[in-house]
């Protein structure tokens, strides 16, 4: 090494240690969302805006989503370390060899719902028999329908499905192109634009015994092995951000709107609907994100009923060891 090079190296090292006192090396995390931006994505931008990820030494890159299947593929391939997906999708993926595990729950109550015109005479899910339901082919509702149908004692084939573009759901109901639309409860404010609120009927599957888990955080298993601390810090920050977001909905949407072209009023309504899925005794007692082994088993059973071979025990599909301790308990 020449004198000059040595001097440069020494300078560089000095610069590193000088900076190192305050800034630990940042861990880069690519975070794959489940879908295009909606109100329930506000916490991630709250955490970015308030510098909470940075505080924990995380450099988080939020990526717009394309559905749960895509999120599982991205996380399995290591293109994202952590993602959001509907719990049955990563369970099926793992059963087929994908390197993904569920590491935390987002909604404690399943958000699947059905919308209809009140004057159609539908009062309970069993009334769906013989009706036409509009739902996209790859939609989680359609995937879950056979399990829900058998739960409520309806022959799954007694319902006629029409394939529609996801964004066309409210219009399909508004213009009565279908009797019923399957859409998450969180989409209610948008449905109310197409159907007057007093004429819009909505039933939550969860209120009729549908007990599966839905939106969950998933992680790449190699990443969990090589960087468990980063996973733990990530969940700590996102649940802290959830706690803040649920208490400060307008402010959180204000922050989200700095990053995405959204209609704030619509998104406040959307996030207010989302909050209902956190108001459960389970979350009150165990903290946001808590994974209930019995419900996880129910979710795995639903995947099994679809004909997926489950060879490993339930504990292979999820782990609760990265959840924040102490947990964030959202008080109402």
């Amino acid at each position: 090494m020449t004198g000059l090079k040595a001097a440069a190296a020494a300078l560089f090292a000095a610069a590193l240690t000088a900076g190192g006192a305050s800034a630990q090396p940042m861990t880069k995390i690519d975070f794959q969302l489940n879908w295009k931006i909606s109100g329930d994505h506000a916490p991630y931008y709250v955490a970015i805006e308030k510098g909470w990820f940075k505080e924990e030494g995380l450099d988080v890159n939020v990526m717009i989503g394309q559905g749960s299947g895509f999120a599982v593929q991205m996380v399995d391939a290591g293109k994202a370390q952590i993602g959001i997906a509907d719990a049955p999708v990563p369970i099926e993926g793992r059963a087929k060899g994908a390197n993904v595990k569920v590491i935390g729950i987002i909604f404690d109550k399943h958000p699947n719902a059905m919308y209809f015109w009140k004057d159609s005479g539908i009062t309970k899910p069993q009334d769906l028999k013989g009706k036409t339901v509009a739902v996209p082919a790859s939609d989680g509702h359609k995937v879950m329908w056979p399990a829900f149908a058998s739960l409520i004692g309806v022959n799954a084939a007694d319902v006629k499905f029409v394939n529609i573009e996801p964004t066309a759901k409210p219009a399909a109901l508004g213009t009565k192109k279908a009797d019923v639309v399957f859409e998450l409860y969180t989409g209610k404010p948008f449905m109310e634009k197409a159907v007057p609120a007093d004429k819009l009927g909505v039933l939550l599957w969860a209120d009729y015994g549908f007990n599966a888990y839905a939106h969950s955080y998933i992680a790449n298993t190699d990443f969990l092995k090589s960087n468990p601390e980063a996973a733990r810090k990530f969940l700590k920050v996102v649940y802290r951000a959830w706690d803040f977001t649920l208490k400060n909905i307008p402010e959180s949407i204000e922050i989200l709107s700095k990053y995405h072209p959204i209609n704030r009023d619509d998104f406040v309504a959307n996030l207010t609907a989302v909050r209902e899925f956190f108001k459960t005794d389970r979350y009150r007692n165990n903290g946001i994100g808590y994974i209930d082994p019995a419900r996880m088993q129910d979710t795995i059973n639903i995947v099994k009923e679809k004909g997926v071979e489950i060879k490993t025990p339930a504990s292979d599909f999820y782990t609760a060891e990265f959840l924040p301790n102490p947990p964030y308990k959202f008080n109402f």
Binding site: K36, I37, S38, M63, I64, G65, Q66, F70, Q73, M74, A77, K79, P166, T167, A168, P170, A171, G174, T175, P189, F190, K193, A194, S257, K258, H260, P261, I262, N263, R264, D265, D266, F267, N270
Partner: protein, 259 residues
């Protein structure tokens, strides 16, 4: 310029304004709900005036889409013409690779886009690639047709004069193919716009396609229509630019389709 020469030039804008007026009147008179069809004024308001409940950041998104369209058009034009010259240069190459290009062109973009996303993520490069895949084929096919459509007598003549293959291309085939190339570029100009928007629809966090798909999700209709107006404006402008270039580069042929 007097009124007689000005009047024909105003025909197209007059038709557009009249259509917008009919649209506005229909929405107001028939009380069409905004989520089904907003009035053009409401769409324009969302574009030009600050909204109390949203900040659409049009500047950022317009820039993102324009950049995608611009780069995609340049890349597609250059690569498409280069491919066509390669194919015309050698019969063997053409026979071997033409089926491949037809194959690529017949892939439904909506089906392969998620695969591209899995490989390269979303963003500028992905949307340019999607726009290229949607729009390169017309450039290749038209240029190739132009390079091959040479009068046999003319070829006999230059061969008799011992012209090299290079000379035949530079002096005969390429100038002869110019009108064909411009036809290909005109098709490409609008297809590039479609491709860029399709890319943004499938996954993006910037661009007019992103605003449109986001607003569809929340039934926020006026920005959808504002976005569509801008997108078609870009398509028409690029088409007109190609037409202008055609008139400048080929002053002898003034009968192309004009925007």
């Amino acid at each position: 310029m007097n009124l007689a020469t000005l009047a024909p030039r105003l025909k197209t804008p007059a038709v557009i304004v009249a259509l917008l007026a009919i649209w506005q009147a229909a929405v107001v008179l028939l009380k069409v709900p905004e989520f089904i069809l907003p009035s053009p004024l409401s769409a324009l308001e969302h574009l030009f005036l600050p909204q109390p409940d949203a900040n659409y950041n049009w500047g950022v998104h317009i820039r993102a889409t324009l950049l995608e369209i611009g780069i995609a058009f340049v890349v597609t034009s250059v690569v498409g013409i280069a491919i066509a010259i390669g194919l015309a240069w050698s019969d063997a190459v053409r026979r071997l690779s033409m089926p491949l290009f037809v194959f690529v062109n017949s892939l439904p973009i909506i089906a392969i886009a998620p695969i591209i996303l899995l490989w390269s993520g979303y963003g500028l490069a992905t949307n340019i690639l999607i726009a290229f895949l949607v729009s390169f084929f017309p450039v290749v096919i038209n240029t190739l047709a132009g390079l091959s459509a040479i009068d046999d007598d003319l070829l006999d003549l230059v061969n008799y004069l011992h012209a090299t293959k290079m000379q035949v291309f530079v002096k005969l085939r390429i100038p002869n193919s110019l009108p064909y190339i411009f036809t290909g570029l005109k098709i490409c100009s609008t297809m590039c716009v479609v491709g860029a928007i399709v890319g943004e629809f499938i996954a993006s966090d910037k661009g007019l396609g992103y605003i449109i798909i986001n607003s569809q999700y929340t039934m926020d209709s006026p920005p959808i229509y504002a976005g569509l107006m801008l997108v078609s404006l870009f398509g028409v402008s690029l088409f007109a630019l190609v037409g202008l270039a055609e008139r400048i580069l080929m002053p002898w042929a003034r009968k192309g389709v004009e925007a």
